[in-house]
C-alpha cells in the first residue's frame, strides 16, 4: 500500500516537473519508476521515454541495474521511444537503474537511484528511571529492534503530561537508544505517558506507551534502620525505627512499601522470603513479630514507592527479643570412660538442642542433676557448654538435664545411664566425603533385634576440646548417616558408631575420615636399618597426624643405581619398612620415599647408600663356618690321636726308662684306691694296666747316679716318659732325696686278666730325676697306659691299680724275697709312717 502511494506520488512529481520544464528545457529522456525507495525484495517497474525530436541515435533501449543488463520490453508510443522494465524482486539496498541506447559503445541516456529497506520495527522494552539526586532527571531507554532497516530511521521520544496538559517531543540521536528528560519537562508526582516513535521512508512505528509517575520510577537510596528494639510486653516482637536517606527525607510523607529481612545472630542466611510491609511512612516504626524469644536478630530493610524498583538493602541493625524460659527437650548422648571394675566411671554427657528446643535467651546454661526437681541438692554439674563430665553417680540410673536462663528453667530431660557392654555389633564402618561440608558414614550391623538405636559420634582428632564432639542418634534400622558441619579440610575426624541396647551400650567401631585430602606436608626421612649381603632394610618414622593431610594410602620407595633402571617397592603402611633385595655390591644407590594419600603424593629427599662386599654378617658367617670346620677338624684329629695314641706315641715319643736312676717304691693301698675311683669314673673299663717300661737300660748308671741333679734336664731325657708318681700321693717321701728308687714290674699279661700262673718279672732301678715333682698339676694321680691289642707285652706299675695290687698280694713272700732292696724300702716306709 505504501509503495503504491509512493509510486503515484513519484509519477505525479515527474509529470509536474515535465510540464513545468516544457517552457524551459525539455529533457530528452524521462525515467519514471514505481518508487525511489521500496521495500526490499518488492517489485519495481520503471519506464524510460526518449523524445523523438532528440537526436540520440536509433538503437534499442536497454536497461542496466548497476552494471548488469536486465531484460525489458518496448512500448509503442506516439511521443517517442518508450521502454519499460520490471524488476520482480529488488534485492539491493541501494542501486542505480540506468536507461541505455544500444550503440557501440552503449550510450547511457538517463538513470535513477532506487533504495530499498524495511519499515521500522516498533521500539521494544521501553523503560524509564528517575534519578532523584541533583539534578533530577528521567532517563528512558528502549530496544530499537533487531531488524536492520537499511534506511535512515529517525527516533523520537514523546511525553504527555496530562496534569499540565503538555506534550514534549525529543528528537533522538541515531543509534543511541536512550534519552534523559530534564527536570523541567516532567512533574514528579504527575502521571505521564511516554512512548518512542521510529520513522523512516517506508513507514513509522511506535513503542507500547508506558504511563508512570516519575517518583514511582525512581530507585530510592538504601534506607537507614535507626533502631531495633524489643516491643515491651510482647514476646517475639521487634520494633524497627527507620528513615529514608538524608537526601530523600523530603519524601517521608509518602506511603512507601517496605521489605524487611531478618536473621538470627548465629545464622548465615537471611530469611528466604522478606516480609513485605505495605503503605508505611518512615515517620512510623514497623513491628516484626512471631520471632524467637530472647534471640538477637539482625535486620535489613529496603524501600520502594508504588512499583518503583526496590532500593538496595540497608545496612544491618540488630535487636534482641524479650526473654522467656527455655522450652522443649534436649537431645543427649552419654559416654562412660574409666575403670568400671572399680566403679570409678567418668560420665561424659553431651547434649544439643532438639528441633523443638528453644533457649529463648542469649545466655542459657545447663544443669545436670540426679534429681528431677530443681535444686542444689543432687546437682552434678552446671555449665554454659554442650557437655559435662562427672563421676558416675552410685545407685543412679538416670540423670536430669535442664536448660536455665535468666527468666526460668526448662522442664528436665531424662537421661538414662547406659552401662558399657562388651558386645560388638557394628562392623565395616566407612566414612566418605560427599563434599567439603558433608561426610557419608556407613556401617553394618550383625543383629538389630536387640538394638534400640545407634549413636554416631564425631570429633576433630587434632583437638582435644570435648565441646567439639558432636553426635547424632540414629534409628536401629538405619545404617548410614550424612553428617554435615564445618569440617576443616585436610584435618582428621574420628567417627565412632555405638550400638545401644536396652540395658547398655556396646563397643563402638571407629574410623578416621577427612572431608578433603591433599598430599602430606612432610615425608619422613629414610633410615638404613641394616644391610646384609645384597639386601638393605630401610625404615622410617610415622608422619605426625597433623601433617598427614589425609589417609596414608601407600609408601613407595624408588631406588636406582648409576646404571640400572628405577625400581619401585611398596611398603606396608603399618610397618613402614621395606627390604630392597638383589642389590649390586659396590654400586652407589639412590633412593627416595613417596608418600601418597587420596589427595596427592609427596616425594622425600634422596638418600645414597652402597652395599659392602663383606658386611659384618658375612664376616661372622665366614668366621663361624671356618670355626666350625676347624673345630670339626680338630675333633677329628684328636679322636684319631686318641684312637691311635699308643701307636703314635710309640712312633714319635718312645718311652725310655732309666733303671739306674729309678728305685721301687711302695704305694699304700689307700692312694691306689683313691686313684682307682677317680680313674674308674672317667674310664670305666680299663683293660690293661702298665707302667714304666724301660725298653733300653742305660749303660752308665753309676755316673748318672752321681750327677743327676747337678746336670741339666737334657741329661735326663733318657729316662723316657716317667708318667706315674705324684708328690701328693701318700707314701711319697719327697723329691729332695738323692735318688728315687724305681722298680719295674713286668707282667706277662693284661692286668685285668686272671693272674698268670707264672711269676712276674721285677726290675729294680733308682733315679735322681725329679720325676713327677714339677708336673704335679698336670699329671693325673695315677697314670694308666691304655694297652692295645698291638702291644703284646704290657707293663703295670705295681702301686696304683687294685688289680695289680691284688695280683701283687697273691704271692708277696716270693716277690719280696727276691728283691731285698724293695723289701728294705717297704720296711723303711712303714717305720716312717
Amino acid at each position: 500500500m505504501i509503495s503504491t502511494w509512493v509510486s503515484v506520488i513519484v509519477m505525479l512529481v515527474a509529470s509536474v516537473n515535465g510540464a513545468r520544464n516544457e517552457d524551459v528545457i525539455q529533457p530528452c529522456v524521462t525515467i519514471q519508476t514505481s518508487g525511489s525507495v521500496v521495500p526490499l525484495g518488492s517489485r519495481v517497474t520503471a519506464t524510460c521515454v526518449i523524445r523523438d525530436d532528440c537526436l540520440l541515435g536509433t538503437g534499442h533501449i536497454e536497461w542496466r541495474l548497476g552494471d548488469r543488463f536486465i531484460p525489458s520490453s518496448p512500448v509503442s508510443s506516439e511521443s517517442g521511444r518508450v521502454s519499460e522494465v520490471v524488476i520482480p524482486s529488488f534485492n539491493h539496498t541501494r542501486e542505480f537503474l540506468t536507461c541505455c541506447l544500444q550503440a557501440s559503445p552503449i550510450q547511457v541516456v538517463g538513470g535513477v537511484e532506487i533504495r530499498a529497506g524495511y519499515p521500522p520495527e516498533p521500539p521494544q522494552n521501553l523503560s524509564c528511571q528517575t534519578n532523584l539526586t541533583t539534578p533530577n532527571t528521567l532517563t528512558c531507554c528502549w530496544d530499537p529492534g533487531q531488524q536492520e532497516t537499511h534506511l535512515l530511521t529517525q527516533y523520537t521520544l514523546h511525553t504527555e503530561i496530562w496534569d499540565m496538559n503538555k506534550n514534549y517531543t525529543y528528537k533522538l540521536q541515531t543509534g543511541v537508544p536512550h534519552y534523559t528528560v530534564p527536570r523541567s519537562d516532567f512533574v514528579l508526582f504527575s502521571e505521564m505517558k511516554i512512548y518512542v516513535k521510529a520513522v523512516n521512508e517506508l513507514g513509522e512505528a511506535s513503542s507500547v506507551p508506558i504511563v508512570l509517575e516519575p517518583v514511582s520510577a525512581a530507585k530510592f537510596d538504601p534506607p537507614k534502620i535507626l533502631e531495633v528494639e524489643a516491643v515491651p510486653k510482647k514476646y517475639g516482637c521487634l520494633k524497627l525505627r527507620w528513615s529514608l536517606s538524608q537526601h530523600q527525607a523530603w519524601m517521608s510523607n509518602l506511603f512507601l512499601n517496605l521489605e524487611v529481612r531478618l536473621k538470627t545472630a548465629d545464622s548465615n542466611q537471611w530469611s528466604e522470603q522478606p516480609i513485605l510491609v505495605s503503605r508505611v511512612k518512615p515517620t512510623r516504626s514497623v513491628d516484626q513479630c512471631r520471632l524467637l524469644h530472647g534471640t538477637r536478630y539482625f535486620s535489613q530493610i529496603r524501600v520502594r514507592y508504588k512499583q518503583s524498583p526496590w532500593s538496595e538493602w540497608s545496612s544491618s541493625q540488630s535487636g534482641v527479643t524479650l526473654e522467656s524460659a527455655p522450652t522443649g527437650h534436649l537431645d543427649s548422648w552419654m559416654r562412660l570412660s574409666g575403670d568400671h571394675t572399680h566403679k570409678q566411671l567418668n560420665v561424659h554427657l553431651f547434649w544439643k538442642p532438639s528441633k523443638q528446643f528453644r533457649a529463648n535467651s542469649q545466655n542459657v546454661s545447663y544443669i545436670v542433676s540426679v534429681q528431677k526437681l530443681p535444686g542444689e541438692k543432687g546437682k552434678l554439674c552446671s555449665t554454659m557448654g554442650n557437655y559435662c563430665t562427672f563421676q558416675f553417680p552410685r545407685k543412679a540410673k538416670k540423670v536430669y538435664l535442664s536448660a536455665v536462663n535468666a527468666v526460668g528453667k526448662s522442664s528436665p530431660t531424662e537421661v538414662r545411664i547406659y552401662q558399657p557392654k562388651a558386645r560388638v555389633m557394628i562392623s565395616d564402618i566407612t566414612a566418605v566425603p560427599r563434599d567439603d561440608q558433608t561426610l557419608l558414614v556407613q556401617w553394618k550391623n550383625v543383629d538389630t533385634s536387640s538394638l534400640t538405636d545407634h549413636v554416631v559420634e564425631w570429633r576433630p582428632l587434632l583437638k582435644t576440646d570435648l565441646s567439639l564432639t558432636q553426635f547424632e542418634i540414629i534409628d536401629r534400622n538405619q545404617f548410614s548417616l550424612l553428617i554435615t558441619g564445618s569440617f576443616e579440610p585436610y584435618k582428621p575426624y574420628r567417627i565412632s558408631v555405638y550400638p545401644r541396647f536396652k540395658d547398655g551400650i556396646g563397643l563402638p567401631q571407629t574410623v578416621n575420615a577427612y572431608s578433603r585430602q591433599k598430599a602430606p606436608s612432610m615425608v619422613p626421612k629414610i633410615r638404613i636399618k641394616k644391610t646384609w649381603q645384597s639386601h638393605i632394610e630401610l625404615t622410617w618414622d610415622e608422619i605426625p597426624l597433623d601433617q598427614r593431610n589425609g589417609v596414608i594410602q601407600s609408601y613407595k620407595v624408588f631406588y636406582w643405581d648409576e646404571k640400572g633402571p628405577i625400581n619401585v617397592v611398596n611398603a606396608d603402611t603399618e610397618e613402614r619398612r621395606v627390604v630392597l633385595k638383589n642389590l649390586n655390591a659396590l654400586s652407589l644407590y639412590e633412593a627416595f620415599l613417596m608418600v601418597s594419600t587420596f589427595g596427592g603424593s609427596l616425594n622425600g629427599s634422596t638418600i645414597h647408600f652402597e652395599i659392602e662386599p663383606f658386611d659384618a654378617v658375612t664376616v661372622v658367617m665366614i668366621l663361624t663356618a671356618s670355626g666350625v670346620g676347624l673345630s670339626l677338624m680338630i675333633i677329628f684329629i684328636v679322636l684319631t690321636c686318641f684312637s691311635n695314641h699308643k701307636r703314635l706315641k710309640g712312633r714319635f715319643w718312645p718311652v725310655v726308662p732309666d733303671p739306674a736312676n729309678s728305685s721301687i717304691k711302695r704305694w699304700t693301698s689307700e692312694s691306689s684306691q683313691e686313684t682307682h675311683l677317680a680313674w674308674d669314673r672317667d674310664e670305666p673299663n680299663p683293660i690293661y694296666l702298665s707302667h714304666l717300661s724301660f725298653l733300653d737300660l742305660p749303660m752308665k748308671l753309676s755316673k748318672q747316679e752321681d750327677d743327676l741333679w747337678l746336670n741339666s734336664a737334657e741329661d735326663t731325657s733318657d729316662l723316657g716318659e716317667s708318667i706315674c708318681g705324684s708328690p701328693f700321693i701318700p707314701g711319697y717321701s719327697g723329691s729332695n732325696s738323692d735318688s728315687v728308687p724305681y722298680a719295674t714290674v713286668i707282667f706277662s699279661g693284661p692286668c685285668s686278666s686272671p693272674p698268670p700262673k707264672e711269676p712276674h718279672v721285677y726290675l729294680r732301678s733308682e733315679s735322681t730325676q725329679p720325676l713327677l715333682e714339677t708336673e704335679e698339676s698336670f699329671s693325673p694321680k695315677c697314670y694308666q697306659n691304655m694297652a692295645t691289642d698291638g702291644m703284646p707285652r704290657e707293663q703295670c706299675f705295681f702301686g696304683p691299680s687294685h688289680d695289680c695290687v691284688a695280683e701283687e698280694g697273691a704271692d708277696p713272700a716270693i716277690l719280696w724275697d727276691d728283691f731285698p732292696f724293695l723289701r728294705a724300702l717297704a720296711m723303711n716306709d712303714t717305720q716312717n709312717d
Binding site: 541533583t134 539534578p135 533530577n136 496534569d163 499540565m164 530534564p182 527536570r183 523541567s184 512533574v187 514528579l188 508526582f189 504527575s190 527525607a249 523530603w250 519524601m251 517521608s252 510523607n253 509518602l254
Partner: protein, 210 residues
C-alpha cells in the same frame, strides 16, 4: 409484650443514630483526590525547603546575603520596595473566616508569584530552573486541590504584574532579587507546610453544605 416494645424502641434508636451519622461521615472528609494532592504538595514543599539552601548557595555569591536570618546583617527592606518584589499572600490558620477556598487560592497565588519571580531571575542567572520546576509541580498539585475542592478560580491576588525584570539593572540587583525571592519563598513554604498540615486534619463543620 414488654420485650417487643423494648426491641422496637431499640430499633428506632439505632435507626436514628444511623440516619444522623450517615451524612456526617463521608461529607466531612475531604475527597481522596484532594487529600492525595495535598500530600503530594506537602512533599514538594518539603523538597523545595530541602533544596533552597543549596540553590541559594549556588546562585547568591554576594557576601552578607545568607539564608540564615541570624547572620542577616543588611536591611534590604528598601531594596524590596525598589525591586518591586511583592509580599507573599498571607496564609492563616483555617477558620470560618479563612476558609479552605481562601487558603488554597492564596497557596496558588503565592506559588504563581514565586514561579514568576524565579522565571524572571532565571533569565539572568542559571541554577534556578530545577527549583522553578519544583514550584511548577507544586502549583500543579495545588491546582489539583483546587479542582478537587471545587474552589472558584477568581482570586484578587492573581495576575499580579511583575515589573522585576525592568528593575534588575545590574548584577547586584539580580543577586539581591534572588536572595529576597528565595528568602521569602522559604518563609512562604513554611506557611504552606503549616497550612497543608492543617488542611489534612481539618474537618469543616459546613462541609456538608459546600
Amino acid at each position: 409484650m414488654n420485650t417487643l416494645t423494648a426491641v422496637a424502641l431499640l430499633h428506632c434508636f439505632l435507626f436514628a443514630v444511623l440516619v444522623r451519622s450517615a451524612p456526617v461521615g463521608p461529607a466531612s472528609e475531604p475527597p481522596a483526590a484532594f487529600r492525595e494532592a495535598a500530600e503530594r504538595a506537602k512533599t514538594l514543599v518539603e523538597k523545595i525547603l530541602r533544596d533552597l539552601p543549596a540553590v541559594h548557595a549556588a546562585t547568591v555569591t554576594t557576601e552578607g546575603l545568607t539564608l540564615d536570618p541570624s547572620t542577616e546583617t543588611t536591611n534590604l527592606q528598601l531594596m524590596v520596595t525598589s525591586l518591586g518584589i511583592p509580599a507573599a499572600p498571607v496564609l492563616k490558620p483555617l477558620s470560618e473566616r479563612f476558609t479552605l477556598d481562601m487558603c488554597v487560592s492564596r497557596m496558588m497565588a503565592g506559588g504563581q508569584l514565586y514561579q514568576g519571580l524565579l522565571g524572571v531571575l532565571s533569565e539572568r542567572l542559571s541554577g534556578l530552573k530545577d527549583l522553578r520546576a519544583d514550584l511548577r509541580d507544586l502549583l500543579t498539585h495545588i491546582n489539583k486541590m483546587k479542582v478537587a475542592a471545587q474552589v472558584s478560580s477568581d482570586s484578587p491576588d492573581q495576575n499580579q504584574r511583575l515589573d522585576l525584570a525592568s528593575r534588575l539593572h545590574g548584577n547586584y540587583e539580580v543577586q539581591v532579587g534572588v536572595h529576597l525571592t528565595l528568602t521569602q519563598l522559604r518563609s512562604f513554604c513554611h506557611d504552606l507546610i503549616r497550612s497543608l498540615r492543617a488542611i489534612a486534619t481539618y474537618r469543616p463543620r459546613s462541609a456538608g453544605t459546600r
